[in-house]
């Protein structure tokens, strides 16, 4: 808040700089209050509405963020519909409908028709939206470009009626302008639907779809049904577990700024020590006494009696004392390694995917958790830079990739040592996902496109990526090894027959059968039948590295009753005898049997994958 108030003075000065010097009184006539709505009207880029192309992405993003947040708070599995229709040449209608808890009718005008109205701004916990600017900024943008009001339908449950509103914003005073409000009938039991019309274009359609896909990846519990200009896409859910909504926590003494401390303290008249204990995270009596000792303030003084000087002394004392980090587990909701993988796999079908959720950490008293994932191969393109997916509190960051600390941290990792080529960013069929969950994500600007460079966060990103890099390296080297073995085996299997042919030609003999050798090289099971001097011998050799249980079948007119070892089962069919043997062979073991005869008939082996066996009948070659 304070920052933005500071900025409001800029246009004031601009307006008050006429070419000639003027006195203070003349200036005073020009000086007046500026509403936030007016301010943002002039500074649309600060909220991500710099161009019509981008406006549509931002609007969709704000509406869907709100829908997901609402469902999450109510413990509902989100079912969201998004429709984008071309109403006129460059006039578009965006419809977003969710199955969230709905908004009570009294609040609807404020949520959509007043900037900086929200439930989450004063809470310390992880959420997508925070300041209550996003969706009302979209309403503002709509009325600026199309002049049309925004339509909202909301219903809070089956025992409540649905209400319909048409809302605009009175920019000069930042208050809602309700053009229509009435009860209506709606088939949803609970939820909210908004329809916003503004001038835009669909040149950013691909980015819009990317945004939806990315959203679906980090919100695997959500189902997104999308209809864009006649094209339908469904991003289905990969998980049936609703997210446990993070709880709000008290501010941490290290994270608080002096202005905020002043605001909280002014509403409390209890003794300072108990005020500190009950209004801050991780502050017990001992810690509170320590603050006050350093600041040199009596423990029993009433909280609201501090002078500005004492207040600043207390604030700096609070920063000096060591306080345990805030309870991240309660206020943050990381996606989790398994769900990140599921979400990614669903969209990309990788050859390799690994995810990490780092332990919670703290910067400036704000708890945060870094999550990262690396995907390799699958449907990723093999050329060019790695695909980078950045998220903050489950919201995809779609713009200003180059200005983001996440991108910087990715480029700083030495990817070559993990077997990935690199030119600044890693290159090749690689996807890198980074999610930062925090009670206060440090964006570089209010348009929330890029994360600021905070050493604590960058360090966590680097650690997560290094861990994943090691996983990837293991995968790559194992894959390469397997590939080398296979290529070598194939090469040998191509050369051996040539040797056999040349050798046979030289010594003028028929070309010998090389399939048993191939079986050995390719690590297969080889069964051979050979007849010599009136004895038929069957040899089965297991060249695989694991044990196999086999069934050997011999069908022959030879008298296989005399076979050693004896068959498990034998049956006579006309002149032929059909024998069955059950054989267990460990890796590398051999089994033999023989019987007198002419070598008539056939043999077969079952119980092993066709690709893993070679049956050779030397009497019929």
């Amino acid at each position: 808040m304070r920052k933005r108030c500071g900025k409001t003075s800029e246009p004031a000065i601009n307006m008050a700089s006429p070419p000639k010097p003027v006195d203070a009184r003349t200036l005073a006539k020009l000086q007046r209050n500026i509403s936030v709505a007016e301010f943002f009207e002039k500074n649309k880029h600060l909220l991500g509405f710099d161009s019509p192309t981008r406006g549509i992405v931002t609007t969709v993003k704000e509406a869907i963020d709100n829908a997901l947040d609402a469902c999450e708070e109510a413990g509902i599995l989100p079912d969201i519909y998004l429709g984008i229709f071309r109403a006129d040449n460059d006039l578009f209608k965006v419809v977003v409908e969710d199955n969230g808890p709905g908004i009570v009718p009294e609040n609807v005008p404020f949520v959509f028709g007043k900037l900086l109205y929200g439930s989450r701004f004063h809470q310390i916990r992880q959420s997508r939206g925070q300041q209550g600017i996003g969706i009302s900024a979209a309403v503002l943008y709509a009325q600026l470009t199309s002049g049309r009001p925004t339509l909202v339908i909301s219903r809070c449950g089956s025992d409540h009626p649905a209400y319909l509103f048409r809302v605009m914003i009175k920019t000069e005073i930042n208050e809602p302008d309700i053009l229509e409000s009435r009860e209506t009938s709606w088939d949803r039991l609970h939820g909210t639907r908004i329809e916003i019309e503004f001038k835009s274009s669909l040149t950013a359609k691909k980015r819009l779809i990317d945004y939806l896909r990315y959203t679906s990846v980090v919100n695997p519990h959500a189902r997104l049904k999308v209809e864009i200009d006649g094209e339908s896409i469904l991003f289905d859910r990969a998980s049936e577990e609703p997210i446990i909504p993070p709880e709000a926590i008290l501010p941490h003494p290290h994270g608080i700024e002096i202005g905020e401390l002043k605001r909280i303290i002014s509403t409390h008249d209890e003794p300072l020590a108990s005020f500190l204990v009950s209004n801050f995270s991780r502050v017990g009596e001992k810690t509170a006494f320590e603050f006050l000792d350093i600041a040199g303030i009596e423990k029993t003084r009433a909280a609201d009696s501090l002078t500005p000087k004492e207040l600043s002394g207390l604030h700096s004392a609070m920063q000096k004392v060591k306080v345990p980090p805030p309870p991240a587990a309660r206020c943050l909701s990381p996606i989790g390694e398994a769900l990140i993988r599921q979400g990614l796999e669903k969209e990309f079908q990788f050859d390799f995917c690994s995810a990490r959720t780092r332990p919670a950490s703290v910067y400036h008293g704000h708890p945060f958790i870094v999550e990262a994932a690396i995907g390799y191969g699958g449907r990723l393109e093999s050329d060019g830079n790695a695909r980078i997916m950045r998220f903050a509190n489950r919201v995809p960051l779609m713009y200003q990739q180059g200005a983001c600390a996440i991108t910087g941290s990715i480029g700083d990792v030495n990817w070559r040592s993990y077997g990935i080529s690199q030119s600044g960013l890693p290159t090749g069929p690689v996807l890198i996902l980074i999610h930062i969950a925090s009670t206060n994500v440090p964006f570089t600007s209010e348009s929330k496109d890029a994360i600021a460079s905070i050493p604590e966060i960058q360090r966590e990103i680097t650690l997560a990526l290094q861990e994943l890099g090691r996983d990837l390296k293991t995968f790559l080297s194992r894959r390469d090894k397997t590939r080398v073995i296979e290529e070598r085996a194939l090469a040998i299997c191509a050369i051996i027959p040539e040797i056999a042919a040349k050798v046979a030609e030289t010594i003028e003999e028929p070309v010998p059968d090389v399939s048993p050798i191939e079986g050995r090289i390719m690590r297969k099971l080889v069964a051979k039948k050979k007849t010599e001097n009136g004895m038929v011998s069957i040899t089965i050799r297991n060249y695989t590295s694991h044990a196999v249980d086999l069934t050997l079948y011999i069908i022959s007119s030879d008298d296989i009753h005399k076979t050693e070892p004896k068959p498990f089962f034998i049956e006579d069919i006309g002149n032929d005898h059909s024998g069955v043997w059950q054989i267990s062979l460990k890796g590398g073991e051999e089994w033999k049997c023989s019987y007198p005869g002419s070598g008539h008939g056939m043999i077969d082996v079952r119980g092993i994958d066709e690709k893993k066996k070679v049956v050779v009948d030397l009497d019929h070659s």
């Binding site: 040539e498 056999a500 046979a504």
Partner: protein, 364 residues
């Protein structure tokens, strides 16, 4: 064709075809084709007391077609054997270089470089104990030449020819054929054999009549001597019991020429017995000659110094003589060519230096 020749040819074929027969049996039994042969490295050279030559030791290398490289090696060998079989049977012959070019048409089995095919032929010599000449393979380089009081008979295409190596030859001498087995040494009037590294010095000795005056058979080595040249030296030494001396430049590379004559080489250690002349001795140029005769000289290069130091640890250069000479050369930091003696006049080498060295060595 003589009966003897036919027997040699049949034996060569028989031994050669044992190899593919072995592979055929292996493949038929479901085994990978393989070969076993001595490792051909410096480490596997052992001195054979009886024959006084260096041969391959006991280390063996087992090669099985279980890797792409080994399988290709065996495939190439199968092709070469197939080719040699036809060549021997049809009484044709080819050079090592021609064999390399013939392999161009063998697709996967073709050789990448001539050195590969040369090495493979040597492998076959080792495996069969048959010399490549009996596979009708010859090196393309000319044999070196002989000049001196020696009468021999060569089995030529036009029948046997008796040749006297002074009377029946020109100024360049008699050219040694690639297959020394076709020679019969009939008679001689020599007291010694001198093998000479450079053509210039060989011509100088002939021009100065050294062969007549000292009854010497002069053999031109032409640098690192070909097998046929070494075989001639071996046979002259063993058949006529003549003392053999080697006269080279005074640098480490020339000492290696001497070593290959007197002790053998790593590449051909399998046929050391017929190639090496253990009785051969080194005349010069010795490092001490550079000093004593104040010969025109060059400084040693880094490679020369490294080669000299390697020779100090080479088992073939063991003994005080070489140790002293090499250490002296390193100290002098100088090397000289044979023809540096010309600085003292064209007759100096034949009138002064060689007679002095030969009497020092008790040959005259």
């Amino acid at each position: 064709m003589t009966i003897h020749k036919k027997a040699v040819k049949d034996e060569a074929l028989r031994r050669l075809l044992k190899i593919p027969r072995h592979w055929f049996d292996q493949i038929s039994a479901g085994e990978l084709p393989s070969i076993t042969m001595p490792t051909r490295t410096k480490k596997n050279l052992a001195y054979d007391e009886e024959s006084q030559v260096w041969k391959y030791g006991d280390r063996e290398r087992f090669r099985e077609a279980a890797s792409e490289k080994s399988a290709l090696h065996i495939l190439k060998m199968a092709y070469v054997i197939w080719f040699l079989k036809h060549q021997i049977r049809d009484n044709r012959s080819s050079t090592l270089r021609e064999l390399y070019y013939i392999s161009e048409g063998w697709k996967r089995a073709k050789f990448a470089a001539q050195n590969d095919s040369n090495l493979l032929i040597e492998d076959l010599e080792i495996l069969t104990d048959v010399e490549r000449e009996n596979f009708n393979l010859r090196p393309e380089e000319d044999g070196a030449s002989i000049f001196g009081p020696l009468k021999l008979q060569e089995d030529t295409r036009r029948g046997p020819k008796a040749i006297h190596c002074q009377d029946d030859v020109g100024e360049a001498g008699y050219q040694i054929p690639t297959n020394v087995d076709s020679l019969d040494f009939l008679e001689h009037d020599a007291r010694m054999v001198i093998a000479i590294e450079t053509g210039g010095m060989y011509a100088r000795l002939i021009e100065n009549g050294f062969d007549e005056k000292y009854q010497a058979i002069l053999v031109h080595l032409k640098g690192q001597p070909a097998r046929s040249t070494r075989r001639v030296l071996n046979r002259l030494a063993s058949e006529f019991k003549l003392p053999v001396t080697v006269f080279t430049d005074g640098d480490p590379w020339s000492y290696r020429i001497f070593a290959s004559v007197a002790y053998g080489s790593i590449k051909s250690a399998h046929i050391s017995e017929i190639l090496v002349t253990p009785s051969a001795r080194f005349i010069g140029v010795q490092p001490s000659d550079i000093r004593d005769y104040d010969l025109p000289s060059d400084h040693l290069t880094e490679q020369d110094i490294a080669a000299l130091k390697a020779e100090l640890s080479d088992p073939r250069f063991e003994g005080d003589y070489w140790k002293n000479q090499i250490e002296l050369q390193l100290e002098l930091n100088l090397k000289s060519e044979q023809q540096a003696f010309a600085a003292r006049g064209l007759d100096f080498v034949t009138n002064e230096y060689l007679p002095a060295r030969l009497s020092e060595m008790s040959i005259i």
